[in-house]
């Protein structure tokens, strides 16, 4: 994945464990400054080894760290170089979800080596949103779950995110808490 994803993981780990511990996490993951250059592409194996090293430091299973990385990404992207893009994608949760696909498609022009996910709004009403997630990768479902939770928090929507079932394509349900 692009180095920008590693950057978010590094920021999360430093927030949790501090700069000093980060150095040993990075050493364990076998990465240097270079892997954190946003515009450079690295094999997914590098990404996995960074996330695993952070998970080790967290003392939690990798899925837990992926979930938290998803939540953190929304916050990270909202503050960083991507804040304009995040802002342009919508002022409300439904609008943002509708634009997720277009967002990744449009970013692809700048990041040609990205393997982009696809998001499709299947249903949308007053009780929530059902979103279909398609990807060439597997194993990132908890990451997506965290991302969607992060989005709910970004738009201050009270509610929960869940996998609809184990079927493919993967569906997520964003349920609003009844007022």
């Amino acid at each position: 994945m692009y180095g920008m994803v590693h950057r978010a993981a590094r920021e999360l780990a430093i927030l949790r464990h501090g700069e000093g511990k980060w150095n040993s996490i990075a050493e364990r993951a076998g990465v240097s400054e270079r892997e954190f250059i946003s515009a450079e592409v690295f094999s997914d194996a590098v990404t996995i080894s960074i996330v695993s090293a952070v998970a080790d430091a967290d003392g939690s299973p990798i899925d837990q760290t992926l979930l938290e990385l998803g939540r953190h990404w929304i916050d990270f992207a909202g503050r960083s170089a991507y804040s304009n893009v995040m802002g342009m994608a919508g002022d409300t949760l439904p609008e943002f979800c509708r634009n997720l696909d277009r967002m990744h498609t449009s970013i692809q022009a700048t990041m040609p080596d990205a393997i982009m996910p696809s998001f499709e709004v299947e249903t949308m009403d007053d009780t929530g949103i059902t979103l279909i997630y398609r990807s060439q990768r597997t194993g990132l479902e908890t990451f997506v779950q965290g991302l969607l939770e992060g989005l709910m928090a970004r738009f201050k929507v009270d509610g929960a995110v869940s996998r609809v079932d184990d079927a493919h394509p993967v569906r997520f349900r964003l349920t609003y808490k009844p007022v």
Binding site: S38, A39, A81, V85, M88, G90, R102, I107, A109, T110
Partner: protein, 532 residues
């Protein structure tokens, strides 16, 4: 003409996010997402021409002109945050459509105000816009990275400076006791010794000198790193200087059974301007290095001159160097080969320093070598000829011989606040039959002189309360105020600072001479005899 496409409102919005639908009379009936969000519906029901400025084509001032316009339209909408739309006018039934998209400002000034819906699905304006935005931000990241690398480098340099300072300080700390060891060993060498003692003493002295050389190298290195090493160029007799510098090398080469060939016949003028100390240092480093690594064969010294540039080459028939070893040769603390450093010892600083000195003098030091055949080190230096009229004042390196007379009639006083220095001097003076007293500071020195009228004073410079120069001035003043027939006191400054300025300052304060630390019995007595 029947319409080819019949589009829903959503579809029109997707294709022309800035569209405006007008009635036959030019009243706004509907607008696309670009205008909806920015005006919150305030345009609906109003005459189009009241709400916009038509920037292109020029000269459109009423709806009739607009209706018939067939070219590209550029309009500005002041009520929608001044956005600019680009499009064309289409007529459908009794409606008019301004089919428009946003004209985007990619300078980054207003990206916060755009939404994805503002961009047509049918073109790549959004991609272009995002590319501009993302690249700009990635550039900032690259700049941040560069800044943090610069900072890291600055920190490393600061640490390096601190290291050099430490090196300089610790070297000074080591120097005083080391001078003690060497000084006393030198004095003992003049005494009666059994052959076993003499052998051991020789070892102490040569180890001491090795340590001293290393220490000097370290100090020079620290000075170079702090850019504090200054050259003191004077007029020198070049050939005499080279012969002098290489004299000890030649002696050692002969002891080792090597041929030492020195060929300095050139068209070079005798007298040139150079810093003799650094020149000697470079040559003797290269010379000793050549001897050190050459088991059999010869060392050849030659010189050529091109214009003001002099090239002095020291060639040996030693083992030679691999390309890799040559590349590492001038790096600090590196020796061509680790085995070699174990066999021959040495700090590995000599060549680094020699090259730095050569460069400081405006020249360079280079090596060429063939493995198994030997190495050639060539130092090239710009050495302009000295103006002839000043040739008389050449710094002479020929030295007066030691006069082994007993020190009758000399009453000496040593003024120094460091007891280690006092002890060394006492041992040296004892060996030559001169009695001396001590004063442990400038003020005490002046007092002692007032009481006992010594005819020789060795004065340290840096002392608390009253420093050496102040003490000398005081004594000279007391002398001037007193009996003019009385014998004048000879005062020698003893200091580690042997720069020309320091010497000039000492003489100006009234000293008769300057002795550089570390003191050697020979130089001490040469200086003393020259005054009596």
């Amino acid at each position: 003409m029947s319409p080819v496409l019949s589009l829903s409102t959503d579809e029109i919005s997707g294709l022309f996010p800035g569209y405006v639908r007008l009635s036959a009379l030019g009243v706004i009936e509907a607008v696309g997402p670009v205008l909806t969000r920015r005006t919150k519906g305030s345009l609906i029901g109003r005459p189009f021409m009241d709400c916009v400025e038509v920037m292109r084509p020029r000269g459109i001032s009423n709806f009739d002109d607009l209706r018939t316009c067939r070219g590209q339209l550029i309009i500005r909408c002041p009520e929608a945050a001044g956005i600019v739309l680009k499009g064309v006018v289409l007529q459908r039934d009794d409606h008019f459509y301004i089919c428009a998209g946003l004209s985007v400002d990619v300078s980054g000034q207003s990206s916060g105000s755009y939404r994805f819906e503002d961009f047509s699905m049918a073109d790549s304006t959004l991609e272009t816009f995002l590319a501009a935005d993302l690249r700009r931000n990635l550039l900032i990241e690259a700049q941040d990275l560069a800044t943090s690398l610069t900072e890291a480098r600055n920190r490393a340099e600061a640490a390096d400076k601190a290291k050099s300072r430490f090196l300089a300080e610790i070297s000074h700390e080591i120097r005083t006791p080391l001078n003690g060891v060497i000084g006393i060993a030198d004095v003992m060498a003049h005494g009666e010794l059994s052959s076993e003692q003499a052998g051991r003493l020789k070892l102490i002295r040569s180890s001491g000198r090795t340590l001293e050389r290393l220490l000097n190298d370290l100090l020079d290195l620290a000075k170079l790193e702090n850019n504090r090493l200054q050259l003191a160029p004077v007029q020198i007799d070049l050939i005499a200087e080279i012969r002098d510098a290489l004299g000890p090398v030649e002696a050692l080469a002969r002891v080792r059974g090597l041929d030492f060939i020195i060929d300095l016949k050139t068209n070079s003028p005798d007298h040139v301007i150079a810093d003799p100390i650094r020149l000697r240092q470079v040559l003797s480093n290269l010379g000793f290095n050549a001897v050190k690594f050459t088991q059999k064969g010869s060392i050849t010294v030659s010189m050529t001159r091109t214009g003001d540039d002099v090239a002095i080459t020291i060639a040996d028939t030693g083992p030679g160097l691999t390309d890799k070893a040559m590349a590492r040769l001038f790096q600090r603390f590196e020796q061509g080969d680790k085995d070699v450093s174990i066999r021959y010892g040495g700090s590995g600083l000599g060549l680094t320093l020699s090259r730095e000195f050569a460069r400081l003098m405006g020249g360079d030091l280079n090596v060429s070598s063939v493995l198994g055949m030997g190495s050639r080190f060539t130092v090239t230096l710009p050495l302009p000829p000295a103006p002839p009229q000043e040739a008389a004042s050449i710094a002479s390196s020929s030295q007066p011989t030691l006069r082994p007379t007993a020190g009758a009639g000399i009453r000496g006083l040593v003024v120094d606040d460091n007891p280690a220095n006092l002890e060394i001097l006492r041992v040296m003076f004892d060996a030559f039959g001169i009695e001396i007293d001590f004063a442990d500071g400038g003020r005490a020195g002046v007092e002692a002189w007032r009481k006992n009228r010594y005819n020789l004073i060795l004065m340290d410079l840096q002392m608390p309360e009253m420093n050496g120069l102040e003490a000398i001035s005081k004594i000279r003043q007391l002398e001037a105020d007193g009996d003019s027939n009385e014998e004048k006191t000879r005062i020698l400054i003893v200091s580690a600072d042997a720069t020309e300025e320091a010497i000039a300052e000492s003489l100006a304060a009234g000293a008769d001479g300057h002795l550089a630390k570390p003191l050697r019995p020979e130089s001490l007595f040469r200086a003393v005899w020259s005054l009596f």
